[in-house]
Amino acid sequence: MKRRLPFRRWIRRVMQIVFLLAFIGLIFATRPVPGETPSWWLKAYFLADPLILLLTVLAAHAVPLLALFSLVTVVLTVILGRVFCGWICPLGTVHAMTGWALDKVQKPAKRRDTFSPWQKAKYYILGGALVMALLGGHWITIFDPLVLLYRTATTSILPAAQWGIETGANAVYQTDPRLGRFKLTSVTEPAYQYLRNHVFVLPKQAFLGTGLILAFFIAILAANAYRRRFWCRYLCPLGALLGLLAKRPMLRRAVASESCNECGLCTTACHGASASGFGSGWKPSECFVCLNCSTTCPRDACEFTFQPAIWRKEPAVQPVGLTRRGVLWAAVGGLAGFAFLRTTPQGRGSVYHPRLIRPPGSRPEPDFLARCTACGMCMKVCPTGGLQPAITEAGLEGLFTPHLVPIIGYCDYTCTACGHVCPTEAIRPLTEEEKHQIKIGLAAFDVTRCIPYVYGRNCVVCEEHCPIPEKAIYCVETEVELREGKKRLIKLPKVDPEKCIGCGVCEYVCPLDDAPGIRVITTNETRHERHQALLPEVESEEELPY
């Protein structure tokens, strides 16, 4: 009998690697280049994600136009099944690689792995998410697999690698070791400088909350030790959506019953645990089309065939197996979860967190949360590294969404990168002129900290750095009294609320870098009409009758 060569499995593996490398490549390519607007293809993966499209449409009642590209994925799934999970999804590939590595360590992998009813959990999670989305909650997208991988790579893995490279290169540079006539720096310096100038966004980049982000990622990787591709089988909301679309795909597994002796070898290598029996009970909604079953079968009984007429019963497929009661409970769960998210003072919109400074072009908070997936693209592209994942500032619903932390980095006056990379337009793409009209906050001096106010010395580093051509920070020459009646004329800085856009450079450069003498808070942010604390100044020569 002719043995089928395992080359088809290798085609899949190569494709998986290619798509993973492309994903990583796009992460690296997402960096600010002076004078250039980031191009749309940097967000290609997110645009191909139908879960993001669906939830955004439901939650925000708007269609991010480019995201319609994800309809390609929908069509692909209807025809070929969950090939996205098995061949394309970079997180799926990371899980597959983890499983492969665990196979080497754990060894017992020859266990027959059949469908577990718990795999239906992901559909109920998706059901809850859809109910939430209908009510305006977009929260579950923070668990979208592409979002999850992008965020983890950007905020924890890359900064860790950068730290290693920077520390190593600097150590070599300072000690300058030699091997005979060979200087180690002649290799490390060019390599380091290339990375610094063309790969890293800024020196010493680091993010808040990386521990939490990384811990979650490690947890889902570790779950592979319990079941291979645990995340993809049991939890992934995108996998669930694609599973529903792949109920009756055109590409189907056919088992020649006359050749099959029900040895069950096909189930040992199955990525998705998609069959409930040995050589039977195939659920296309669980199948990643990894082709391992047909490659493994020693009798060539298992083969994928094309059935363009999807209403045909043959080759047989098993249904997803959802129960009406289960779906109902999922809906109730979604409702309850949404109520939980929204019944906080912040969720009710009755308080504004003073430090929840959203990037310029961000929509009003409810609309922002109805679109933001917390993917981290804006944080990756931010040239100052000031955009950071929110941990507590935006509540649970805003977990890992971007906010500006001026003490880490400020909003660069001529940069509009974040809006141009945002896959769902939670941050609107702006021109430089538009951006200059938008206030993201307002600076305020802490006169119990600011050096001129407190210690009677000149400083005004903040005024110097204020990027507004007419200066939002101005100085008033004031005589201050020092010890023993000594007088000194100094420049006291003040903020003009009309001009201040809240970029935060003043806070960033303040010499008091533990608790700056000037801080930016969200007051006056353009995106909230109700959050305007100060009346506009009236152009008048006369004194106002206060």
Binding site: P32, P34, G35, E166, N170, Y173, R196, N197, L202, P203, K204, P383, T384, D412, Y413, T414, C415, I451, R457, N458, C459, V460, V461, E463, E464, H465, C466, P467, I468, P469, E470, K471, C475, K491, V509, C510, P511
Partner: protein, 311 residues
């Protein structure tokens, strides 16, 4: 013509030749190697295009250096030269917040022509370095002229004992002070606190932790200037910023002066710059301080600067 010199003729000619050689060394008008300051001005028609502006800036630089005795007076063959322009801000050249790129490029070329081994150009900007280097036009211009454009690495500043009156030690960028020659080439600008930012203040771009300087700018600038031991400085006054400095951003705050000063006396150059900004040298604390502690003279006219008018 064929005539053998007689001994008398030979001696006479030799005497004349020797005298001719000695003469420039003794009299100031003919002694380029002793000229302490030169001022070049453009008196021709106003430039109508960036290309014309570039040409004028180039000529002003070349003539100013030539008047001091040429670049070979400062740069010896095989020297490593660091050119320190002001690349402080993410602003285009017209806004006058950074040194004119053509002045920098011309200096690069002159240094290389004088036999410099390598010419490096770099500053420690206030705005993002990548953006400031690009939008100032300096990175491109300097690279084209053959320089290495260097981004300072924050981890590689080294705390140095500068033994100043106010600043005892500060992180300095080693690669700059280890160069054989550092050419200081700032632009003349208004500064909210220091009144003006000129040559002395430009040295704030070789250090880190400079924010504390603002609490006593004159003394701190005198300290860092003394440590840097200036040799050749050029003050770019092709454009000057008259208000909202040092960052500016408004074209109305910029005046086109098409003037450039070069010299070895940093205080004198700053005094001249103060006048270019419509101030008196005595208005500016760092100039007064520099004069008092002997870093130079604020009476720049006493140096009899060579004034060259181009058209």
């Amino acid at each position: 013509m064929h005539a053998k010199s007689t001994r008398r003729e030979f001696l006479w000619h030799s005497a004349v030749a020797t005298g001719g050689l000695l003469l420039p060394a003794q009299s100031s008008w003919a002694a380029p190697s002793e000229t302490k300051m030169a001022i070049t001005k453009w008196a021709g028609p106003a430039p109508q295009s960036p290309a014309e502006f570039a040409k004028i800036a180039t000529q002003l630089t070349e003539q100013a250096v030539a008047a001091l005795g040429g670049m070979s007076r400062f740069v010896k063959r095989g020297d490593v030269v660091w050119i320190k322009p002001n690349i402080g801000w993410d602003r285009t050249p017209e806004l006058g917040a950074n040194t004119n790129p053509d002045v920098v490029a011309t200096l690069v070329r002159l240094c290389l022509d004088a036999g410099a081994k390598v010419v490096k150009v770099g500053d420690n900007p206030c705005d993002l370095a990548q953006k400031a280097y690009a939008s100032s036009g300096i990175a491109d211009a300097a690279r084209k002229a053959g320089a290495q454009v260097i981004f300072l690495d924050r981890d590689r500043f080294r705390e140095m004992d500068i033994k100043g009156e106010r600043v005892k030690s500060i992180p300095v960028y080693p690669e700059i002070v280890e160069s054989d020659v550092v050419i200081n080439v700032p632009i003349a600008k208004h500064h909210v606190l220091a009144t003006a930012t000129l040559c002395m203040k430009n040295y704030m771009g070789v250090i880190e932790n400079r924010r504390v300087f603002h609490q006593d700018i004159p003394t701190c600038l005198a300290d860092i200037t003394r440590f840097m031991r200036p040799t050749l400085c050029l003050l770019d006054c092709t454009r000057v910023m008259l208000a909202h400095g040092p960052k500016g951003g408004n074209i109305q705050d910029v005046a086109v002066r098409l003037t450039l000063a070069a010299g070895t006396d940093i205080v004198a150059l700053d005094a001249f710059g103060a006048e270019m900004l419509g101030r008196k040298p005595t208005d500016i604390g760092s100039i007064v301080k520099g004069h008092q502690v002997g870093l130079g003279t604020m009476d720049y006219r006493s140096l009899q600067p060579k004034e060259i008018t181009l058209s």
